[in-house]
Homo-oligomer: 160 residues x 2
């Protein structure tokens, strides 16, 4: 597996919704998480920088929570997009989800320098509400598990 | 209430444990959350920057998760420190906690530009394991609730 994901859902969000600090391609200072299909599961690969630590040598838990959060909303968007007959790269605008709840269990210290891999399994619990169960590996070690419930972003959400 | 917290627990962590991207005073690029007593509860005040958004106008949920995470471990450290007879500013080195689990429920969109206030209620569930129930307000609006279970950092955690 390489670090490069070709067809990430975040590449397809309209510009107005591409500013997320976690996964927005237009947010220069953000993490730039990118989420794609891997068969029936989803994957986000990420290499934290040296500043993203909890204590020297170990990755900051808040970054892992952020990774799970954006991986969850991105996975939900991928799944609903597929249900609607579309795949990233097809040129159709995907749905955008917001997080209703986020749960994270930290199982092992996450070593700094490792490639993080979030894997998602997706379940539709309502046409506008999807659950994503996430495992986060550092190289081959399972370091955290999580669950995200995402809901389709209300149309009024982005109106200022 | 002012934005300045005088005696934050994070000011007291030894230098080796003051690099957290969320709450480390020595991490130049981090959020710099600072957590203090407010009577029997704890408080962390934070004003996100303009880059910490989910979509324009609204704060990034991963930042709120990070705030709850560090507020939780900081609150647990405050509580065990007090149980041990100490307060921030007394010159005693406080305990340092790591997160076992983090749960966040997002109740309302969090407007960018508001002052965030995390309030914690702490419960000892074991001498080395503490639970912190957190409410996050944006100005006066309750935007998220959360729960952190923190455990005293194992002595070997920081050894490289």
């Amino acid at each position: 597996m390489t670090l490069h994901t070709v067809h990430a859902i975040q590449d397809e969000y309209p510009d107005d919704f591409a500013w997320c600090f976690g996964c927005g391609r237009l947010n220069e200072d953000g993490y730039h998480f990118r989420t794609a299909w891997q068969g029936e599961q989803t994957v986000t690969l990420y290499k934290p920088s040296e500043k993203h630590i909890a204590i020297p040598g170990f990755v900051y838990g808040g970054l892992i929570a952020s990774l799970i959060d954006c991986h969850g909303t991105g996975s939900a968007a991928l799944a609903l997009h597929r249900k609607n007959g579309h795949e990233p790269g097809s040129g159709e605008e995907p749905p955008r989800f917001v997080t209703a709840s986020l749960n994270v269990n930290f199982l092992a210290p996450t070593p700094q320098g490792a490639l993080l891999k979030a894997i998602g399994k997706i379940e539709e619990i309502h046409p506008k509400k999807w659950k994503v169960v996430v495992e986060v590996f550092a190289d081959e070690t399972l370091c955290a598990t999580g669950e995200v419930v995402g809901v389709v972003m209300p149309a009024a959400f982005g109106k200022k």
